[in-house]
């Protein structure tokens, strides 16, 4: 007798894929932006004149970290608030496992 794939499994797989894509996008953007505009490296010395403060923080921190943080928070609200499915996770077999452990003994 074959059973169709569980809907919780299908929903969770789709949601996990989207989340991992968002993680990848935030990683790529923040690291590349910060490296290009906020890192001292060979041939690119930075000093007080390069801070360009926005709300008191260096501009690379604002654009490379705070802005994507805000965007990710908005996305999180949409994703968790509206997109994720409410699935029934099923009944708890903890008592059954307890019984199985006792029945199975040390075998």
């Amino acid at each position: 007798m074959s059973h169709p794939p569980d809907p919780v499994y299908r929903h969770a797989r789709r949601e996990a894929a989207i989340i991992l894509l968002v993680w990848l996008a935030s990683t790529v953007y923040s690291c590349i932006y910060s490296y290009l505009f906020g890192y001292i490296r060979t041939g690119r010395p930075l000093g007080p004149a390069d801070v360009h403060p926005i709300l008191g923080m260096p501009s690379w921190v604002f654009w490379g970290i705070m802005v994507p943080w805000a965007i990710c928070t908005v996305f999180t609200f949409w994703f968790a608030g509206w997109y994720m499915a409410d699935d029934d996770l099923g009944s708890d077999h903890a008592a059954e496992l307890e019984t199985d452990i006792r029945e199975g003994g040390l075998s």
């Binding site: 007798m1 074959s2 059973h3 569980d6 919780v8 499994y9 969770a12 949601e15 996990a16 989340i19 991992l20 993680w23 935030s26 990683t27 923040s30 690291c31 910060s34 490296y35 906020g38 890192y39 001292i40 930075l46 000093g47 007080p48 801070v51 403060p53 008191g56 923080m57 260096p58 690379w60 921190v61 970290i65 994507p68 943080w69 990710c72 928070t73 996305f75 999180t76 609200f77 994703f79 968790a80 608030g81 994720m84 409410d86 699935d87 029934d88 996770l89 099923g90 708890d92 077999h93 903890a94 008592a95 059954e96 496992l97 199985d100 452990i101 006792r102 029945e103 199975g104 040390l106």
Partner: protein, 555 residues
């Protein structure tokens, strides 16, 4: 003010913290009474009967620890703005940590009846060896982590205790090098946290966690404007920091040394957002939440909470550079800043925040270790027929014993709290994340593949820390990451500039996939039970192990 320039708390600060501690103990007592109404000791003591609400899941999964309030501020103070990039993956961490595995772990733990992580992996893959290995690794890594947390608790209490109370324990025979304030602080911390955790179990840990998380948020919200005002604003603080320690205070890769080069920046997007998914403490929460609606709301709450906590912490400790420019030990910056800025009663409340972070972390981890010992070793391998009463006594004894053992080790604690936290977190993620991911989403995953993934991830991470420590002991400085310390030469080896967590995860993934493909396919009945639609009367996997005839209908 002490001769070395550091400040000591006043009596009022101690009163505030005593009140805080008493409330935590009280919650432990209430949790114990609440849990008595429910059946099944292990399920209620270690998992709270899967009744966690969204607020509790969010605040207890906030991945805050002694590192958050002691180690992280220390890094910001020392290396400057680049530490904002170090923590930046918290922007997606609520989604990744709770959203990727949450639903499936919630479902699989119900279908298998699992109440611990070793339980879950053992039942998912049908492998006692995997359960045993998981228990052993959880105990090893969490014990390392607990030592760092106990140190943090002892250090905070040391600053809060009045000098007179410490002097009561000093005699002519006390060695000049003995730090009696720390020892006394450690003793008080240990007694408190072990008492309420042992008595109240999982619900006590969760309720105190929630209470303490709220206090932490209040502490940060109070401290932020005080630090802002005292420093003359972030722009001024940045300018002062650059004058003191160089332009690296405002830019990557950090002040004084290449603390966070781009390879490590990429690594730390794995570190918090991805390794957070593989922490046993997180997975236990994912087994304990009430339903999927609870999970959704907990992601929302955690997202808000991270903004309230982490972004202000960056600002506060950048500001600290201009408020406390000459601290001898950067690990002391949090208590020193609070004692400098706030009046004694407010200082007590704010210092309760890091103390609460440490307490709540310790309580959760103590229970995970004791559950590993009691459920996964004692009950599974020694006394399967033990009565509820016997299991309860074993659980209480295990929780107390672990707390005391860790406190003894913490009498001579290592430096760089945050590095130990990072080491243990990396190790656990490298060991457990891939087996959990494969178990949740890949039907072809096998027990051998999961074992290979677990061993490879743990071994690669450990090996890179062993090499890093050996290099540090020989006096070799890789020039990136935190500097090696003469007192505690414990460090990571950054192969090709990446943190060990990345290599551990890569090795674990490769071994898990190869190991699964090279081993025989898993039992189709077990896979169907965990991946397909099942009737309400479908058995748990352990039942079809005992009665294979039940599994034939599922194939």
């Amino acid at each position: 003010m002490r001769p070395d320039g550091t400040r000591h708390a006043e009596f009022a600060t101690l009163i505030a913290l005593v009140v805080f501690t008493l409330i935590s103990l009280g919650l432990g007592v209430v949790a114990n009474f609440a849990a008595q109404k429910r059946l099944g000791f292990l399920r209620k003591y270690f998992l709270g009967n899967r009744t966690l609400g969204a607020f509790a899941v969010a605040l207890t999964a906030a991945v805050m620890s002694g590192g958050t309030f002691m180690g992280f501020p220390s890094l910001v103070y020392k290396f400057g703005w680049v530490v904002a990039l170090w923590i930046a993956s918290y922007m997606v961490a609520p989604l990744t940590v709770l959203g990727v595995l949450g639903k499936r772990i919630g479902q699989l733990s119900r279908r298998t009846g699992a109440i611990t992580l070793p339980d879950l992996l053992r039942e998912r893959y049908g492998s006692p060896a995997l359960g045993l290995l998981t228990s052993s690794l959880v105990i090893f890594f969490l014990t390392c982590n607990l030592v760092a947390q106990f140190k943090a608790g002892g250090v905070i209490m040391k600053y809060i205790l009045p000098s007179e109370s410490v002097n009561l324990f000093v005699s002519e025979n006390t060695p000049a090098t003995a730090d009696m304030g720390y020892y006394l602080g450690l003793a008080i911390f240990t007694a408190t946290v072990v008492a309420y955790t042992t008595y109240g179990g999982f619900l006590a840990a969760v309720w105190t966690d929630v209470f303490q998380s709220i206090i932490m948020a209040v502490g940060v919200v109070i401290l932020f404007p005080l630090a802002w005002h005292a420093s003359g604003g972030l722009e001024h603080a940045t300018s002062v920091g650059m004058k003191m320690v160089g332009p690296g205070f405002a830019f990557g890769p950090g002040a004084g040394r290449a603390f966070h080069p781009i390879g490590l920046a990429i690594s730390f997007f794995f570190m918090w957002a991805i390794t957070g998914m593989g922490q046993p403490s997180t997975m236990v929460r994912l087994m304990a939440f009430r339903d999927s609606k609870t999970l959704r709301y907990s992601i929302l709450y955690l997202s808000i909470y991270n903004i309230i906590i982490y972004i202000p912490l960056i600002f506060i400790f950048v500001a600290a550079r201009s408020i406390l420019p000459h601290l001898a030990k950067s690990d002391d910056v949090m208590p020193q800043l609070v004692l400098t800025l706030a009046n004694p009663y407010v200082a007590g409340l704010i210092l309760a925040a890091p103390y609460g972070a440490v307490m709540s972390t310790v309580s959760g981890w103590l229970l995970i270790i004791s559950s590993g010992l009691v459920r996964d070793l004692y009950q599974r391998f020694l006394r399967p027929t033990a009565s509820e009463r016997e299991i309860a006594r074993a659980s209480y004894a295990a929780t107390v014993a672990i707390g005391l053992l860790v406190a003894i080790v913490a009498l001579r604690p290592p430096e760089f709290l945050q590095l130990i936290v990072v080491f243990a977190s990396s190790g656990m993620a490298a060991a457990f994340l891939v087996p959990a991911l494969m178990g949740c989403f890949w039907r072809r995953a096998t027990a051998r593949g999961a074992l290979a993934a677990m061993v490879s991830g743990a071994v690669v991470t450990l090996a890179l820390y062993v090499v890093g420590t050996a290099l540090a002991r020989s006096g070799f400085d890789q020039g990136i990451g935190p500097p090696p310390s003469k007192d505690s030469p414990f460090g990571a080896y950054y192969l090709l500039g990446f943190d060990p967590c990345v290599w551990g995860l890569v090795a674990s993934l490769a071994a898990g996939v190869l190991g699964s493909l090279l081993s025989p396919p898993p039992d189709p009945a077990r896979v169907s039970l965990l991946f397909d639609v099942q009737g309400a009367d479908a058995p748990a996997p352990a039942t079809i192990d005992l009665h294979p005839e039940l599994g034939q209908a599922l194939e």
